[in-house]
């Protein structure tokens, strides 16, 4: 309700009608800084969106200890804990990149939950049947954080990456992951910018050709 009343301030000499009052009230109630705070994602989200290694390092340092504690209590080793934590961080990254997580302010709970379920999967596998799980309190429906297609997608993406040779990885990683421009990559590798552009195109075409050959039914050329 925007109209003036006994409990709201009036602005004699400034407002002459309801429309003017609405404009002034909005200016007073939504300061610029407050709007920016609402719009901006948390630093760790924007960090993952731009593949910032510092963000990865910070998430690792802040949240690995809890996962390690859990895994060690459940028959695992530090190396096991690192494996499941890295997998959880990878799932978090994918979720952020897909836009599935935008405004969550605390990634620790997500990382712990995913890592925990991944470790429980390991524990329940045939190789670990002899282990005793001390803290298995998961609910049947809580795995919604990691839907089945996430793991399938990660497996598919890893398979795609495995098809690249080292030289292509060197160029494509710098361009797509590190977000360097072609000139910087060319200077670092001691070749011309146009050569890097061509190499990038050819590497991506090799990848496209291999995927279309293997999964011809999935991607069909209609052109």
């Amino acid at each position: 309700m925007l109209e003036g009343g006994p409990d709201r301030p009036s602005f004699p000499g400034i407002c002459t009608n309801t429309t003017d009052l609405r404009i002034i009230v909005l200016r007073f109630t939504l300061p610029v800084q407050a709007k920016a705070d609402i719009a901006a994602p948390p630093a760790w989200v924007s960090g993952l969106q731009r593949n910032d290694p510092k963000t990865v390092r910070t998430l690792y340092k802040e949240h690995f200890a809890a996962v390690k504690h859990y895994v060690l209590k459940n028959s695992g080793t530090t190396s096991d804990a690192e494996d499941v934590f890295q997998e959880a961080l990878t799932v978090l990254w994918l979720k952020v990149r897909e836009g599935a997580i935008q405004d969550a302010s605390e990634p620790g709970a997500f990382l712990f939950r995913v890592a925990k379920y991944k470790w429980l999967d390991v524990v329940r596998s045939a190789a670990h049947k002899h282990m005793r799980v001390l803290h298995d309190d998961r609910q049947p429906d809580v795995r919604a954080d990691v839907p089945d297609d996430t793991e399938e997608k990660l497996a598919r993406l890893r398979d795609v990456y495995a098809r690249l040779d080292d030289k292509c990885r060197e160029v494509l990683d710098q361009f797509y992951f590190e977000r360097k421009d072609l000139g910087a990559i060319a200077a670092g590798m001691g070749v011309e910018e146009e050569s890097i552009r061509t190499i990038k195109y050819r590497c991506m075409m090799k990848l496209r050709a291999s995927r279309k050959t293997i999964a011809g039914d999935e991607y069909t050329d209609e052109a």
Partner: protein
């Protein structure tokens, strides 16, 4: 499977990476709405880029994990044992290096050899597609692929100095100095070849690398040859 031309690839790439202006993006999305083949290409390219980024993430995670291990290892009672192990490792490494170190000509070669980076590969060079295709392989370090492709062209043009020069360079990069030397030195002696000077230098280094020092010393370098000073330095090291 039809090829995807470079402008279309780069347009899709710009769309996926969010580098189109608002107007360009709107126009592209209008085209997407009616072009199923384009949608398929966008999906494929988006996923390929995502795969490359995932590969980069795995690399960073591996680094962070290694850093964690180092940090954890900086404290603890076993650190004193680590010092002894490090000393033993250094001694063992030094002995191993001494036994297996390269001989004098290999060291001279390694000190002075910097591979030819190759020629610029422009996409517009459609008339020399086979040559440039091999050049891309050369720049990517696929020396054998480059040699195979250039050798096929050399059969059609056996006197072509560019082909002989780069096949020689690729052989040298592939550590087959004995094959590289005659190819390069034949270009060095070819009148008017733009590659003559570099070919003489690389041919000389190929001889050094393969241990044929007698022939290497006999390679003539004119006083004003751009690599005369370097060749003298190599010969001095061999003495």
């Amino acid at each position: 499977m039809s090829a995807l031309d470079k402008p279309t690839f780069e347009r899709i790439e710009a769309y996926v990476l969010g580098r189109l202006s608002a107007d360009e993006r709107l126009a592209f999305e209008q085209r997407l709405a009616t072009d199923a083949a384009l949608r398929s290409e966008v999906d494929l390219e988006r996923e390929n880029i995502m795969a490359i980024e995932l590969g980069g993430l795995q690399r960073v995670l591996k680094q962070v994990r290694a850093e964690q291990v180092t940090e954890q290892g900086s404290g603890g009672s076993w650190i004193s044992y680590l010092k002894y192990a490090a000393v033993v490792a250094v001694l063992f490494g030094a002995a191993w290096w001494y036994i297996t170190r390269p001989n004098i000509n290999e060291r001279a070669f390694a000190n002075h050899y910097a591979a030819d980076p190759g020629l610029p590969v422009a996409m517009s060079a459609a008339h020399d597609h086979a040559f440039h295709d091999a050049m891309v392989a050369y720049k990517l370090g696929d020396n054998d692929e480059a040699i195979t492709k250039w050798s096929a062209l050399l059969k059609e043009k056996p006197s072509n100095d560019t082909l002989r020069y780069f096949i020689g360079c690729a052989e040298l990069n592939a550590d087959r100095a004995d094959r590289a030397a005659p190819l390069l030195l034949s270009v060095a002696d070819q009148q008017g070849s733009a590659f003559a000077a570099k070919a003489r230098w690389f041919g000389f280094l190929a001889l050094v690398r393969s241990g044929d020092l007698v022939t290497a010393r006999a390679v003539p370098f004119a006083v004003d040859h751009p690599y005369a000073t370097k060749a003298k330095m190599v010969l001095a090291e061999l003495e």
